[in-house]
């Protein structure tokens, strides 16, 4: 069973990841804005615009050559459906597993109870 992905709680995020929220969201009163943003990280906000252009097309055309066209690739809808089926089967197996099954689902339920502490541990 997939044990590896079981513990992924949220993280606090890096400064870069929340930068746009800090600089561009939140309550604002224009008359009182006083900022002088220094440093390169701020520039990345303007660098996010992706323009569909001839260059992009040519780049795609180039990239297509490197992809194997015959490999079937499941997208989000298919993957979620597959996962749901898998979880249902796993759930059924656990129910049948009796003692062991109920032990597993109990410890799985206890896990989220500790969640609120999890995110803060990442960074100081």
């Amino acid at each position: 069973m997939a044990i590896s992905t079981h513990n992924q709680g949220p993280s606090k995020g890096t400064l870069y990841e929340v930068l746009e929220l800090i600089l561009d969201r939140g309550l604002v009163i224009d008359a009182f804005v006083r900022v002088s943003l220094l440093g390169i990280e701020v520039l990345t906000i303007d660098a996010r615009i992706v323009v569909a252009s001839i260059d992009t097309y040519l780049r795609y055309a180039e990239a297509v050559g490197r992809v194997n066209l015959d490999t079937p690739k499941a997208g989000v809808p298919e993957l979620i459906k597959a996962h749901e089926t898998k979880s249902a089967i796993e759930g059924a197996v656990e129910t049948l597993g009796g003692q062991l099954g109920s032990f597993l689902s109990q410890s799985a339920q206890q896990e989220p109870a500790r969640e609120p502490r999890g995110p803060k541990e990442g960074k100081r």
């Binding site: 997939a2 929340v18 600089l23 939140g26 804005v33 440093g39 066209l69």
Partner: protein, 268 residues
């Protein structure tokens, strides 16, 4: 006209008011034991709660000639608000709000906008913001998007082995078709991800991805008592989509995306 040679609004004459950096607004009920943490300007700039009625502004003193904007200032802003959301409800202000003295904070922020602020605090009460970003694995979007497209396969074969100059029209046609396929695929993936998350959120904002590899960039306003359910849903998505999409899950954040309004400063 009234005599204004002497400023005596509230009895105190602040000749030179201290500039205050303002982080956010919390209910005064939660302001009581606000811990003294370092704010913008380092350990000397201790954060405190300036209370007016049922509202309190989180502020710290800022030297008058100081303009916030350094990396450590951004971090301080983030840390203070992150502490505030840990302790309860907060309306985060955008980075860089500086007001000249306590009276200005009292009158032009807390006083003037009292009804709006109380209403917003009520809306946000018991909620936090969580960010969910989904990023395609290398090649996953392109591979999935062009799969089974006969025209792309045909054009791709035509282009193979021919120089770029020689096959330029075909390359552009191919790339154009691929771009459309990629867009459609991304839109579909985004929608399905949203279908999974939306039922859990009290409110949700989809932000621009910022990169071709971003399938979803969503900010969720979520009730604190529904966090466990959201954590679980995101974890499930993460394992279902492993190898195709990587999920980045960030929070709890102050509700920046749900406080994004502009207030009027009013006359002096």
């Amino acid at each position: 006209m009234t005599d204004h040679s002497e400023t005596s609004v509230a009895g105190t004459t602040s000749v030179k008011a201290t500039s205050l950096y303002v982080y956010g607004i919390i209910p005064a009920a939660n302001a009581g034991e606000w811990p003294s943490v370092a704010g913008v300007g380092g350990p000397v700039a201790s954060v405190w709660a300036l209370e007016v009625g049922e509202l309190a502004a989180l502020v710290s003193a800022l030297p008058p000639d100081r303009t916030p904007g350094r990396r450590e200032d951004l971090n301080a802003h983030r840390e203070v608000l992150s502490l505030a959301v840990e302790r309860g409800t907060v309306i985060p202000l955008r980075f860089g709000m500086v007001m000249e003295g306590e009276d200005v904070v009292r009158e032009r922020l807390l006083g003037r906008h009292r009804p709006k602020l109380i209403e917003l605090l009520r809306t946000l009460d018991g909620h936090v913001q969580m960010a969910v970003r989904a990023l395609y694995a290398e090649g996953a979007l392109l591979g999935g998007a062009i799969e089974g497209d006969a025209e792309i396969a045909r054009l791709s074969a035509v282009v193979q082995g021919r120089s770029e100059i020689e096959s330029r029209p075909e390359r552009i046609a191919l790339g154009e078709r691929v771009a459309a396929a990629v867009d459609a695929r991304r839109a579909q993936d985004e929608q399905v991800l949203l279908d999974q998350l939306t039922p859990l959120a009290a409110d949700l904002r989809v932000e621009p991805g910022g990169s071709e590899r971003v399938a979803l960039n969503a900010q969720l306003l979520i009730r604190r008592d529904r966090r466990v359910a959201l954590d679980e849903a995101v974890r499930d998505l993460g394992s279902a989509l492993e190898g195709y999409l990587a999920i980045r899950y960030i929070g709890p954040l102050p509700p920046y995306s749900f406080s994004a309004m502009s207030l009027e400063a009013g006359e002096e």
